[in-house]
């Protein structure tokens, strides 16, 4: 009788360990996958920039500095030797592109260039997708870290080498500002630094 009880308890514990382990694996995979999502969008942004710069530089001779900043940040991001310096360059690139998209508002001629409009929409959605991918990544990191750090699943995590993942920290203003709406087609749409509409 006692042995049956002990056996049941052992089985229950083994079952719990297995399910806790599996859910940690699943969360870790989700984090990896969410990270890849960000990566995909960042690459897409890299591919987009040369075309955009090419398309607008004829119109924007007075914005050499902004354009150069974007091109340089991109070059730095593409050739970054390690992850931290790459992320720093990407953050710089986000800022530069934000500025570029904002000053583009000052060049009404751009609105009649179909190619520019197309590229602008593509850039806008890519920027948004990066922001949303980052947000989704941080969401799954939160899920994983809670599991890794809270009792009793932390016992499993510690013994099987699960670590808390790092949050993606962007530029400070990214955290509170709504996603950009830069479409020129929407009349009255403010630039990225414009006041939030109520």
């Amino acid at each position: 009788m006692t042995s049956v009880v002990i056996l049941l308890i052992v089985l229950a514990i083994a079952g719990w360990i297995a399910s806790a382990y599996n859910s940690l694996v699943s969360l870790r995979n989700q984090v990896d996958n969410a990270w890849r999502q960000i990566d995909v969008q960042l690459k897409r942004r890299h591919d987009l920039i040369p075309n955009l710069v090419e398309a607008v530089k004829g119109y924007m001779q007075f914005e050499r500095e902004t354009l150069t900043q974007v091109v340089e940040a991109r070059a730095k991001a593409v050739s970054a030797p390690d992850q931290p310096s790459r992320m720093a360059a990407e953050t710089q690139l986000t800022t530069g592109l934000g500025k570029l998209l904002a000053v583009m508002e000052n060049y009404p001629q751009l609105k009649s260039d179909e190619n520019v409009l197309k590229l602008q929409e593509e850039l806008t959605t890519t920027e948004n997708q990066i922001a949303f991918a980052r947000q989704a990544y941080n969401d799954v990191v939160l899920g994983l870290n809670t599991r890794v750090q809270s009792f009793p699943s932390n016992l499993i995590a510690n013994n099987f080498g699960f670590h808390a993942a790092e949050y993606f920290k962007g530029a400070p203003e990214d955290q509170a500002v709504p996603k950009v709406d830069l479409s020129m087609s929407a009349p009255g749409a403010p630039g990225p630094s414009g006041p939030p509409r109520v």
Partner: protein, 341 residues
């Protein structure tokens, strides 16, 4: 601070349960209809406390129900899209490209596969999602929505629809749409038969060995059939409503969770509230699928007892109120942290 994360897993479980209940209730209604018809037609009768004859119509109704359940599960999305005359959304114009882009954005935000996009040529701004699971999901917007919403508002609306996808609301609601439609069709069919045969019971039964000398009973059963046929669509409509209203509040909240921006959906709903044009294609069977009730021309702003009972959607004013509360709280919080917001 992001709004509290929605527990999509729990909602999915609820939806699975509700789908089963829905199928069972619909089957019961159909079997009751079939049985009443059997008795009325005389194919079965109770003689000396024993059931005699073969319940051919009951079995037919059961088969119809099973067929309907399977159809609504596997082909529900296509049937719904067909019934509202939707066509695939292609990047044939900058505005359409923007919608496709926003759908991609919200799919990333909700960590779901990108749904197939459809468009309805209707000037009234509205949208719905359908399909049986996130891997077979469809998002349909009206041309009116595309024309009248800016990017931020589109994000809010599409975020709302993605939340219906995430928690399997689309499966329940699509099955309701198809099955409610099927029941309505069937009861219509029954009415037609009744009118053609002049409502006289026992006619078909004279072939069988069941007693047809009981004319009073036949009339009674005929009345029962009429009542049942009349009640069936009402019952199914009530089911449709019961499964729909709470979901809208939940989906509104999840949309905010995805966009991290309560103003997005708030502005969209406020804009829709200004426009009094009911949808052309919004039929009884599909009304509950849409983000705002397509049939009422947004006159559902009173919340009385009957409005609560008979409306597929919560009053728009209530939804706007809740979103305003979220926006207010969010703005205060963001303002404290970030002077720019």
């Amino acid at each position: 601070m992001a709004p509290a994360a929605t527990d999509f897993r729990a909602l999915e479980a609820t939806n699975r349960r509700e789908t089963v209940i829905l199928v069972v209730v619909m089957m019961a209604i159909l079997v009751a209809l079939g049985f009443a018809l059997d008795v009325w037609a005389g194919s079965i009768a109770i003689v000396n406390g024993r059931l005699v004859g073969f319940p051919v119509l009951t079995i037919a109704a059961l088969a119809f129900g099973a067929f309907q359940a399977l159809t609504s599960f596997y082909a529900g999305a296509s049937l719904v899209l067909m019934s509202v005359h939707a066509r695939p959304l292609t990047p044939d114009s900058p505005a359409h490209q923007t919608v496709l882009d926003v759908i991609n954005e919200m799919a990333i935000a909700s960590r779901l596969p990108v749904p197939t996009a459809y468009v309805m040529d209707d000037p009234s701004p509205n949208a719905f999602a359908t399909g049986r699971d996130p891997h077979h999901s469809v998002l349909c917007v009206t041309q009116g929505l595309i024309e009248q919403m800016d990017r931020e508002e589109l994000q809010g609306v599409i975020g709302h629809e993605m939340s219906h996808v995430a928690d399997y609301d689309i499966r329940t609601m699509t099955m309701v749409a198809v099955m409610v439609g099927g029941i309505a069709m069937l009861s219509d069919f029954v009415f037609r038969i009744m009118f053609f045969t002049g409502g006289r019971g026992g006619r078909g039964g004279s072939r069988g060995d069941s007693g047809n000398g009981d004319n009073g009973g036949g009339a009674l059963i005929a009345v029962a059939v009429i009542v049942l046929a009349a009640i069936a669509p009402i019952i199914s409509q009530l089911v449709a409503m019961a499964v729909s209203r709470q979901r809208e509040y939940l989906a509104d909240a999840s949309s905010v969770e995805f966009t991290r921006n309560p103003r997005a959906l708030l502005r969209a709903l406020e804009k829709i509230a200004q426009i009094e044009s009911p949808l052309k294609e919004g039929t009884a069977g599909t009304a509950h699928l849409f983000i705002v009730n397509p049939r009422e021309g947004l006159k559902d702003d009173e919340e009385g007892f009957f409005d609560n009972l008979l409306s597929t959607h919560p009053p728009l004013s209530k939804r706007i109120e809740r979103l305003r509360a979220m926006a207010g709280a969010g703005a205060a919080e963001a303002g404290a942290r970030n002077p720019r917001a």
